[in-house]
Symmetry: C2
Subunit: 127 residues, 2 copies
DNA sequence: TTTATATTTAACTCATTGGTTAATTAACCG
DNA sequence: CGGTTAATTAACCAATGAGTTAAATATAAA
């Protein structure tokens, strides 16, 4: 998929790429600097490819400096990603379990909609 | 890759799956409820597969209720993902541009290390 | 016991990903 | 110019991802 959020998340879905971002967070670096920690595990072209994924996602910008290609971390896409995640914060916060139970009983009483779960006989809201 | 963070991010790197999470955030739902909005675009087995990706990432838990499979959103993995992103917050916050400029001039003056970029003739920290 | 509903599994296709090695481009340096 | 360093491109390959249709399984209901 081509939407920005998908590009961002899939760029982040690789430990090598996350490590590259971590390195860039400590300062700009050109490609071979950036590659150095990984050259035991993979070739330079592999690093170039990872870098290209990060660029496509807008997480890294590469400029020109003689034969070097200084890279810079760009955090903007991460903001959109965290913004998206924020809407789920309630689902991982401490109080959630109790809150959820509360909401479930409330909706069960007020409406007859019964949100799927109910233990016993009830269908899952068919048609 | 098999680490949890990669599993989480790659599960999120698809708009269909994000939409499913959005739906689940409004309440538990069984598979066909969850599939309904997507059946114009894809088959039911496709949905099952997406769901399995979300389960593998721990974002959804599926239980048994007669022939139905009620699904529930589990936010825990999202917490780890946002925690990871938090460390980059400074890279997308307003003040960053000025701060970065400041840091750059500081390091350029104190040390002779020259963080790669400098416009003119300078190599990118070689060896 | 048959039938209907809900969901999964199997088997297959096609595109993308992540890696490789070898060759190529680009810029500097003596 | 010729050599060296930095980085990319090309051509290839195996594994994975996202989808399909058809068949199988599980439970309820008539």
């Amino acid at each position: 998929m081509h939407d920005q959020l998908s590009l961002t998340f899939s760029a982040l879905a690789d430990p090598t790429r996350r490590a590259m971002l971590a390195q860039l967070s400590k300062g700009d670096a050109n490609v071979s600097d950036l590659a150095r920690p990984f050259l035991k595990d993979m070739s330079l072209p592999a690093v170039t490819k990872h870098l290209k994924v990060l660029e496509r996602a807008g997480l890294v910008t590469k400029t020109k400096e003689a034969q070097w290609r200084p890279c810079k971390l760009n955090g903007a896409p991460l903001k959109d990603a965290t913004d998206w995640m924020e809407q789920y914060r309630i689902f991982w916060e401490e109080s959630f379990d109790r809150l959820e139970e509360y909401l479930k009983t409330v909706t069960a009483k007020s409406k007859t909609k019964s949100h799927t779960k109910s233990k016993g006989k009830k269908n899952g809201r068919k048609k």
